[in-house]
Every structure is written in C-alpha cells, then in structure tokens.
Subunit: 445 residues, 2 copies
C-alpha cells in the first residue's frame, strides 16, 4: 500500500514507523526543513512531559528504552511561593514519574528511526492541495517546485493548523470545526546551571502558581530548565501591560523573585521570545472514506496543561495500529478509529483546560494539598477502588473519557469528605477512611 | 473614503447603499454572475420571511415601501396534521404579520438601488486574497483575470463561507471560530397553483410538523408555494433512506398526503433539488483595526428556523450606520459594532436552533397552543408587562440577547402556570391571570 503522511512532527514520525512496519510504502512530507541539518527550532514548546501513554506508543515500535535515555524523570511538582518557599507534591506512587524530554531531540530520533524503517521523508514541502477522492497530494518545496503524489491513502499529522484538515473543511459538506483560544499566551525563559549544576531540584516539575497566571519549569539534560510563563495577553497583569524589559523585570522581582535570580538571560529572552497563543481544536469527521485520516493535533489540538498533547497523539498511533491489525478494510478502520478516539479527544481537551486552573491556582491551596493526601492514602489502601484522576490520565491507559467521568465521580465524593468538620485535624483517622469507603460503595450503586 | 465591499448578497447590497449615502466611494465585488442578466438561482433558499428588523434596515435607506410591494404578508402559521386537518396560530396582534419575499427579487432590487446610489458592482469576481494591513483585495474573474484594489477599508459581507473571514482566520492569531452543522438538511419542493389560484390559504406560513422533521411552505407572488422539507441526512426517516423517487413518494403519501397532492412536479424536484446542509457559524473578532469588518452571515450565520438570518444582517446595517453617524474613528466604530452585536448574534443563533424544535414538534401540541393563547391574552391586557418571545424577536427591535433572556424568564413563569391543576378548563378564568400577574411581580424582584 502506497501511503502519504503529511507532517513529520512527533505523531507523523511515529505513525510512519508503525505503517512501515506493517509493510506500507510510506512517504512523509514535512513543511519545515530537516531539523537534523539546521539549527531551526522544533516549533512550539522546547520540552514535553512524556508519560505512560506516550511511552506505550513508543513501546509498540520498540523505541521506549531508546527514548528513556534522553528523558529526565520528574517525580512530582515543586510549588514555589512568592517568598521562595517550596512544597513537593508527589505525582503518583513511589517510583512513578513523568519525563521531561526535548521536543527537538525526540523528533530527530523518531525521524531517523523512520528512515531506518524504510520511510522516505521530504522536507520543506508544504501541502498545497489534497484531492480526497484519489488521495493525490500536491506539495510545494522552498524553491517553488511542485510534487504531485498519488497514493492509496493519506494520513494528516500536520498539527494544529493542519492543511490536510483544511481539505476536509473546504472539500466536504457538513464538517464540524472549532478553534478556541485562551486569553493566556506563553513565553519561554531559561534557568541556567549554577556552577555547572542544576540550579534547582531537577527531579521535579517546578510551578510558581499565582492564581490568574503561573510560571513552570522543566529540567533539561544539559542542566538548564526551560521555564514557561502562562500569562494573559491583555489586562492588569499581562503581556500588554509589561511591554518593556524594565516593567517585566520589576514584575518578576515582585512575584517570581527566586526564579528571576536564576535567569541571567531574562532581558534578551523577554524581548526575543514571542508570546505564543494557546488553542483547542475540535472537529469531525476526522476521515474521508479510505482516503484520509487525521491524527494527533490535526484532529484534536489541546492546551498543554495536562502534558497530554503528544501522549494522546502517540496513543492515537497505538490504537490505529491495533485496528489495522484487525482489518484490511481501511474505510472501516478509519471509521472505527474516529468512533473510538473522538470521545477521548473531547475528554482530554476538557481535562487539559481544567488542569490549567488546578496548576495556576489550586496547587497552592492547603485544602487542595490535603485532599490529594487523603486521596493518595485511600488509593494506596484500596488500589482497585480508587485511582486519583492525575494517575488515571498519566500513569494508566484508561480511556480519557472514562478518566474524566471517574474524576467527576471522585470529585463528588471528595467534596463530601472535605466538608467534614475538622477535616484538617481528623484526615488521617480511620473514621475518615471508613466514611470514604461507604461513599464509594453508595455512589457505585 | 474608498470602500470595498466583498459580496453583493442581501446584506452587502443594502450595506453598500448605506455607505454610498454616507459619501463612501463604494466598489462591490460579487463571486456570482449578475442575477439580473442570467437565470441563475439566487443561492440558498428561494424565499425569506422579512420581519420588522429587516424592514427597519430598508427604511433607513428609504426602501421599505418599495420592498413591501413584492412581499406576501403571512399573519400566522397554519399547522397541517397527517389527515390534512389544519389549525391557524396567529403570530402576533391583529394587523401584525411577517412577509414572504423572493430572495432573488429582493437582491436584484437592492443591487439596482445600490447602483443608483453610485455603487459600482463587479460580478463573477472571487476574493482571492485580502491584505489586512493595507485593505488591499485581489479578485479573480471568470476568465482568470486579476484585479487588485487598494481601499481605505473593506467590509466582508460574503456569507456563511466568507473568504474575507478566511483572511482573519489565516492572517491573524487568536481567531476564535466554529462551524457547526445540524443533522438535518433541507430540500425545496413546489406547490403549484390550482386553476390559476393559490392552492392553499396564502396569508400564512404552512407547517407540517412531524416531531423529528417537518415540511413548511411560504407563498410566492406568482401563486405558488415554495415548500422546504427539513429532514435528517441519515437514520430511519432520512434522505439516505428515501433515496429513490418511489420511496420518497410513498413516504410523502404516508406523512404529507395533502401537500403531496398539490406537488405535480414532486418526482423531478425530489431528484433534481439538492439536500442542502444547515450550519451555524460563530467567530470573533469580526474586525481588524479600521481595515476589515464582517457583517451578516460572514460574521454569524444561523439556521433558518426563526426567519431571522436576513433580518439580523439588515439590523447589522442599521446599527453600523448609526455608529458611523456618531464617530469618524473607523477602528472605534468597528470595535463598538462588535461589542454591541456579538451578544445579539450569539442569542439569535440560539433562538434559531431552539425554534427548530418548536416548529417541527411543539406547534402540534395542544398544551403548547394553549400556552400561547394564555400568553397572548395576558400580553394584550398587560402589553408593557409581557411581550411573547416570538413578538420580541419578530415585531420589535428589542436586542436579541434581551429577547432570549426575557424569553427564559417567561418560560419559568409559564411552566408554573401550565402546571396548575385543570389548566385546560380554567385557563380563561380571572384567577389564572391574577396568578400570572403575581408571578411576574415576584420574578421581577
């Protein structure tokens, strides 16, 4: 089967390996130049949080161990208050962690593995048109030369602003589509090593939650941290307000003093690094007969606050590969893929939006921290009865839609528990556990 | 001021008259050929229901009386049951009516009036690009010739699939956009005159409500009725199921026998007339600085069930003209227009979706009819206290957003009234009126 993949980003590269291993004759076209030859940025955020769904996607093509070598484990969150005091919140059980990984390094490795598997990748090739009825694509390279490629089927893995998706939007009737932006954007900043060592604890993800906005930092292999400020575009505290380095620096001195002290390149980074926008994309259908299937951000771009964008895209690859193993009827596979994945894509979009409020606000609240402690303790004693929402999303393969609804069920129970008188004193008593147990049984009916 | 208007549909034509009267040097570009020269269809539905907001928009350029001449008044709905029994439901007070008008005739008249006002219209000109920073447009005509036109500002009135809007979508960051389709489509059919006269009562809009779908008919000046079947694309009773004339005819014989008997051209119309889709478009922003403003369907396409698409677009023109009269600062005018109109566009989109359920289902329910009677009686006695939702939308200039929230408030009251014991017997009693009066006072607090 002759297969075209539009987009050699993370999902496109991994997908092409899966397809090549199934015997497809795969050609990938990528809009950007080859990031292995040039020092271009890998697009969007510098590093990512790889968790179990992502690793499972890599495992399916035997690459998980290889990728683990370029990962920095993060076992929990370290919360920084304005005075620089910190508080560690473990993500899961002992030994469970998420992984900070460079988007660029991961993508380069996947592209090289794809080529080893027989995939041809053409770079600097922009998708100019896509004929849905014949799976014929036209790409234009940097010199303006056109390549027309007729395949048996096309996979659209060309990201949130997918040109393949645009073919569905303009070429078919009744294509439901929405793109919804947050009022917040993000700007990346760097914490440099101090005396050749990580400037902060490097086994965690750092958060400076400030209610309406936040700063986060993920460790890199080179002992730097990439920090991301999630900040309103407009309003009192906003990119529009702090429109000079002096104003931005004064603001950081006031609300992120410990972080600013570790950012020697703050001034030039504030000016040079863009304030980028954050978008959720929802659409349907994701397919056209047996000719086109969208995966990853092209089908369901989400905001980054649960660290699930790439993980969800890799899980798309796992699910598709499984379906391809069960049937040769591509139209049926594409339809089943959409039926299986659309509710989960909706759910993870929702979870990601919810987690922004949790990260920038709730994690600093003592009652939230207590609640997490109670949940963790109960979960440890009754692991089959209770898996905290974060763990379902991050450390399991429970479908996102199930995780979301189980999370809402847990929320109803925890609201009752947290409303008990003197919960801050009694939380560790047996009676609380027994009460929670009774609620679980009652709500399960 | 040199002004480009993209789109010479209903809203574009009316807007260009308003702008010409304000002294703008207006050039309109229209994708389709001149419908005054050719026998092309006017696009989309054949006739429209013009109500007070539309007439007010025409009044502002002195054209309301001229247009009234080509209108067919409709004073209410005539509901047809499966046996052909009919029931008349008056729309408003005596003397209030909506107007069936031919989309094509209305559009032709407006284009001719625009030209009289000094507007230049170029036909068969497709908007190929729009430079937002310079208000420079490029149009391509049927022969492939390009026209580049630099203006001071551009108005996008090019409909639900607006190319002007696409310039905002692809050329700016953080453009919120959604297009959402109904599971229903529509197909147009014709009831011909009988013995040279209207085949049915021609002072009303006819509805054959059938729960999940419906047929409607609007009278035309030539004594025909244009019927529209709103019908699911897929499922048990659907376009997909009745995919032959024989099956469709058998279905009509079963559920719309009285209508079918008046449709001598049913067979060829069923085959030749497409099943068209129904879409709601929401987006924001509608403007770019002082260079582009979207109006009408380009900014807020809605489903047709409240008959408000054109009326809302004409009200856009009224509001914009008022703002232009108050300030020369175009960027400020565009921003104010968006602030004023966006909540109303959201509300009318919602009202239109809600009214589909009312038209296809509730109008056949005796309790719904009773409720309308009670409301009408109360409104007549206390006109300052209660204006039925339909009248607010259709016979007033109350902002749509206010109509929607007042309608919800009325709904809460009417649910209490309709829940009274023996309401079907007691509805005309003074005590009911007094109870309603007390609820109005209580809910107003």
């Amino acid at each position: 089967m002759k297969t075209t993949v539009a987009g050699a980003g993370l999902v496109g590269s991994l997908l092409s390996i899966y397809l090549a291993k199934r015997g497809h004759d795969v050609t990938v076209y990528e809009r950007r130049p080859d990031m292995r030859d040039t020092s271009i940025p890998a697009g969007r955020s510098i590093n990512l949080a790889m968790s179990d769904r992502g690793l499972r996607g890599l495992e399916g093509v035997g690459l998980a161990d290889e990728i683990r070598k370029i990962c920095k484990p993060m076992h929990g969150r370290i919360i920084h208050d304005v005075k620089g005091n910190t508080n560690f919140q473990q993500y899961g059980k002992d030994g469970q962690f998420i992984n900070s990984v460079s988007r660029g390094d991961l993508n380069k490795l996947l592209m090289t593995e794809a080529e080893k598997a027989g995939v041809k990748i053409h770079f600097s090739s922009r998708l100019a048109s896509l004929d849905l009825n014949t799976a014929t694509t036209k790409f234009i390279d940097a010199a303006g030369n056109e390549t027309v490629d007729k395949a048996d089927t096309v996979f659209g893995t060309d990201g949130a602003f997918s040109a393949a998706r645009m073919a569905l939007m303009t070429g078919t009737d009744r294509f439901d589509y929405s793109q919804t932006y947050l009022e917040h954007g993000y700007k990346e900043l760097t914490i440099l090593p101090v005396n050749g060592e990580f400037a902060m604890d490097h086994n965690a993800l750092h958060i400076w939650p400030r209610g309406g906005y936040m700063l986060i930092a993920l460790p890199n292999l080179d002992k730097t941290f990439t920090c991301t400020l999630f900040f309103p575009f407009e309003g009192e505290d906003s990119f529009a307000t702090y429109n000079t380095v002096a104003k931005a620096r004064a603001f950081f001195e006031r609300v992120f003093p410990d972080a600013l002290a570790l950012m020697p390149e703050f001034d030039q980074e504030w000016v040079n690094n863009p304030a980028a926008s954050l978008c959720t994309v929802r659409c349907l259908p994701w397919k056209y007969k047996d000719k086109l299937l969208l995966l990853g951000d092209a089908a369901h771009a989400i905001v980054p606050f649960y660290g699930q964008g790439m993980n969800c895209g890799f899980e798309d690859c796992t699910v598709l590969d499984q379906l391809l193993g069960e049937s040769d009827n591509l139209a049926q596979v594409f339809a089943e893929f959409e039926t299986l994945r659309k509710p989960n894509a909706n759910a993870v979009a929702e979870l990601a939006l919810m987690n922004f409020v949790e990260m920038r606000d709730k994690v600093a609240d003592p009652m939230f921290i207590l609640r997490k402690k109670i949940e963790a303790k109960f979960s440890q004693k009754h692991p089959t009865m209770w898996l905290p929402l974060y763990s379902m999303v991050t450390f399991s393969d429970i479908p996102y839609a199930d995780a979301l609804s189980l999370g809402q069920w847990q929320n109803n129970i925890m609201e009752k528990v947290m409303a008990l008188p003197n919960i801050t004193e009694r939380w560790d008593n047996l009676e609380i556990e027994e009460y929670m147990h009774s609620l679980v049984k009652e709500f399960s009916l």
